[in-house]
């Protein structure tokens, strides 16, 4: 398993099956396979969502939003209550600053309505995952962009005019039991940007100028490379002379540009980093990029279910412009404010207020790694991470050891079970999570544990099977000849003899889980991944390390712990013997 950052890879199409850091790119996944899988999952999600919404009374699925029947039209009957009796609204966000902030703005507005308990599931993933979460009912609302909706999600043909586009969007969403608000007011389109100094030297101001400069090095986020309204269309539209560009993570592309590793990157037009890094946004002189007006995308039953909350959310329409959004983004990314703090700078009456507190940025940037690691949430994140790792590990052991025993005793099981658990390893974690969100109609701990459980199976099943198969025939015969029944031979002789191998498999599984568990943060299950996600979204290395270092330390501790366990659990002659 590779642990390199996606951006550090020579080609964008190579994606390891479970590479935590490679998966945290905001709006970017680590491989084409992810996008393919997610495309399929989007279709799946849209197929499944009517089922999960119409079958409103699913007592086994306590997730609130998803259980509300779309077809019912009185708020009283559709309001699903939690144990505490209060209806819930769950807001989702994608994994980049603006989405976090807008979700916080929406959370504040919705909470102020006083009608529902409002939760913000932070940074669920890229478009595919968040949309799947909405379609399945795991969340009720999130902020989406019209261009993404039209081209990426609904895959509408290029519309003739704005009215045709609006009609196409409305129809496409209605078919999925969803609806959208009017624009919030700003247009966060994709754009390509260069360092202003380099652009000036080369005389590049417009996208069409790039055609004469084939030697420029492009670094684009995976999502931009892959999406229908991204790189492929842009290259055709402008007849650009570049091959497949290098795929880089959103969180590190600015650093790469600043250090002259790249010449051209993709940005969002409200990106706070544009000013911070002194970038020149290249003019879209042949009008390729569609409008990316931010809108609230919500489940169609929301207005009936929570009318006052919905009205409060609608009050956000038209309240933003590009500059105010950029200012809010800068508060988080440059000013070092939390997303909630940045969101609090926005008030319905005045829009975003004040300037980004640039002075605070220096203070935030200088925050020591030590204090970032042992921040107030350290104990909570550690506990969450441990729960993710060890609960899923326990499940993997409970299922994996019997499967390994079965494989060792049955050629048929060996032929089917081992390849099956191996195949799970090759499913990219984001794709697996997207599927599990749809499957459970919920986000958070349950799908995260399920994914980790599934990834943890292979080492345990394989090592159990290999450990048992490596027992010499003479010893098996001795056990049989003594008159021990099959079960007793397994428990008293064969499993103890294979224990070294089994423990090694469990250890591998645990160490892998510590790393893979960082992805759980993307579907709201917490753990150190929260910091990694935030750090990448903010392009803040300190925060990123504050998540990555404890995870690495935990992996080391797990490794050491298993060394101790082996000494304790294995009789002397079997120590260090690993088949």
């Amino acid at each position: 398993m590779s642990t390199t950052l996606d951006g550090a890879r020579p080609t964008p199409a190579v994606g390891g099956p479970s590479v935590p850091l490679a998966r945290v790119a905001p709006g970017s996944t680590s491989a084409r396979a992810h996008r393919l899988a997610l495309g399929a999952l989007l279709i799946l999600a849209s197929l499944l969502s009517p089922v999960s919404t119409v079958s409103g009374a699913r007592p086994d699925v306590p997730t609130v939003a998803g259980a509300a029947p779309a077809a019912t039209n009185t708020a009283a009957t559709t309001t699903v209550t939690t144990n505490s009796g209060s209806p819930q609204l769950t807001i989702g966000s994608k994994r980049f600053t603006e989405s976090y902030i807008l979700a916080e703005v929406a959370r504040r507005a919705a909470s102020a309505a006083g009608e529902a308990t409002v939760r913000h599931e932070q940074g669920l993933g890229n478009t595919g995952i968040v949309f799947a979460a909405l379609a399945s009912g795991a969340i009720d609302v999130y902020v989406e962009y019209t261009g993404t909706l039209a081209r990426e999600i609904l895959r509408l043909p290029d519309p003739d005019d704005a009215a045709a586009l609006a009609a196409g969007l409305a129809a496409g969403l209605k078919a999925r039991g969803l609806s959208m608000s009017r624009p919030l007011g700003f247009n966060n389109t994709y754009a390509l940007a260069m360092k202003a100094t380099v652009a000036d030297k080369l005389g590049i101001a417009r996208l069409s100028d790039l055609a004469a400069r084939p030697a420029l090095r492009l670094g684009l986020t995976q999502e931009f490379i892959g999406r229908a309204d991204g790189w492929a269309g842009l290259r055709r539209h402008y007849a650009l002379p570049f091959g497949t560009p290098r795929g880089v993570d959103h969180g590190i592309k600015f650093t790469a540009l600043a250090s002259n590793q790249l010449d051209v990157i993709d940005v969002y037009s409200t990106d706070a980093a544009i000013e911070r890094y002194g970038l020149r946004v290249l003019e879209d002189d042949r009008a390729y990029f569609p409008r990316y007006d931010a809108v609230l995308l919500y489940r169609a039953d929301l207005p009936a279910r929570l009318p006052r909350t919905f009205a409060a959310l609608r009050a956000l329409e038209g309240r933003f412009d590009d500059a105010s959004m950029r200012a809010l983004n800068a508060r988080a990314e440059v000013g070092g404010e939390s997303f909630a703090q940045a969101a609090s700078a926005f008030t319905i009456g005045a829009g975003a207020t004040g300037q980004a507190p640039v002075i605070a940025a220096a203070a935030a940037a200088q925050r020591s790694l030590y204090s970032a690691v042992f921040d107030a949430d350290f104990a909570r994140l550690t506990m969450e991470h441990m729960v993710l790792v060890f609960v899923s590990l326990a499940l993997s052991i409970v299922a994996g050891v019997p499967l390994g025993v079965w494989c060792a005793n049955s050629a048929a099981a060996r032929r089917w079970v081992l390849p099956a658990v191996g195949l799970i390893q090759t499913v990219p974690s984001l794709a697996l999570l997207a599927f599990l969100i749809t499957f459970y109609s919920r986000i958070g701990l349950v799908p995260a544990l399920t994914a980790l459980f599934l990834y943890g199976l292979l080492p345990i099943v394989r090592n159990t099977c290999a450990g048992l198969e490596a027992i010499p025939q003479a010893l098996r015969d001795s056990g049989r000849a003594l008159g021990l029944p099959r079960g007793a031979r397994l428990l008293r002789i064969e499993l103890p003899l294979a224990l070294g191998s089994i423990l090694a498999g469990v250890q591998t599984s645990a160490v892998i889980n510590v790393g893979t568990a960082t992805i759980a943060a993307f579907i709201g299950a917490g753990g150190y991944g929260e910091r990694i996600a935030t750090g990448l979204a903010l392009n803040d290395t300190t925060v990123l390390l504050a998540g990555a270092l404890p995870a690495a330390a935990l992996a080391l501790l797990v490794q050491l712990g298993f060394g101790t366990l082996e000494r304790w659990a294995l009789p002397a002659p079997l120590r260090g013997v690993r088949q």
Partner: protein
């Protein structure tokens, strides 16, 4: 005691044991003698049910061996193989007492029986907590024998138990075991390719080749009246190695 009725087994095209109908007498040491691959170990493994026969059956004290009763019948059979077949994760003590513990004997009974069998197999009590890997080859073999004797089975099956030992240890154990078997009155089937070992232990010898019993009898009978040139060949091949003439 033990009867086989048209008992046979093939491995692929090779006949490991041609149909064999015979009996082994109570309280006698019967040696299955012959070169490698002659079928002597196959016969032993068929008797204890580690192999399924292609044809025929095994009867132990009148009871035909089946998959339903094999585990119960094995409690009345001690099985000793090369190097003892000891479980490496268990101490010598745990190896010897494994079945008694499995059968739920009270600790006092286990301790008493352990003391008896280590006396019979001449094992130092202070070696009992060693794992097999830290025992000598001879000690491992003694532990294997003690384990086989634990439940006091009337029948012992020994599959070349001494062939991995050095000549001095082997010779000592042959003498000891011969004494032990006659003292305890065990019915023993002993597999070896070693004519000298057969001479020391056997009341009765089955000389085998290619899955067939070539001749059965005492060593004197085999030497005096060989039924086949192979018998003479086999005996003469090993007689030359002996320090004194076998069978006087």
């Amino acid at each position: 005691m033990i009867r086989t009725d048209r008992l046979s087994r093939r491995f692929g095209d090779r006949i490991a044991l041609a149909p064999l109908t015979t009996e082994f007498q109570r309280a006698q040491v019967t040696v299955l003698l012959g070169p490698s691959g002659c079928g002597k170990s196959t016969l032993l493994r068929l008797v204890i049910g580690l192999l399924r026969p292609d044809t025929g059956s095994v009867q132990i004290d009148g009871e035909t061996l089946t998959s339903a009763n094999v585990e119960r019948l094995r409690l009345a059979i001690g099985y000793v193989i090369q190097d003892g077949g000891l479980f490496p994760h268990l101490s010598a003590r745990a190896n010897i007492t494994l079945m008694a513990r499995w059968l739920g004997w009270p600790q006092a009974r286990i301790d008493a029986r352990l003391a008896t069998v280590i006396g019979l197999a001449r094992i130092d009590a202070d070696r009992l907590d060693q794992y097999p890997a830290t025992l000598s080859g001879g000690e491992r073999q003694r532990v294997g024998i003690a384990r086989a004797l634990l439940l006091d089975p009337p029948l012992l099956l020994c599959d070349e138990p001494l062939s991995a030992l050095d000549p001095i240890t082997r010779s000592a154990l042959q003498d000891e075991l011969g004494e032990l078997f006659s003292q305890l009155g065990k019915t023993v089937l002993w597999v070896t390719h070693d004519l000298h070992e057969a001479a020391r232990l056997a009341h009765d010898i089955l000389l085998m080749r290619s899955g067939q019993v070539v001749q059965r009898g005492t060593l004197d009978e085999l030497m005096a009246h060989p039924a086949d040139p192979f018998v003479t060949l086999f005996i003469n091949a090993q007689r030359g190695q002996l320090p004194v003439s076998v069978g006087g």
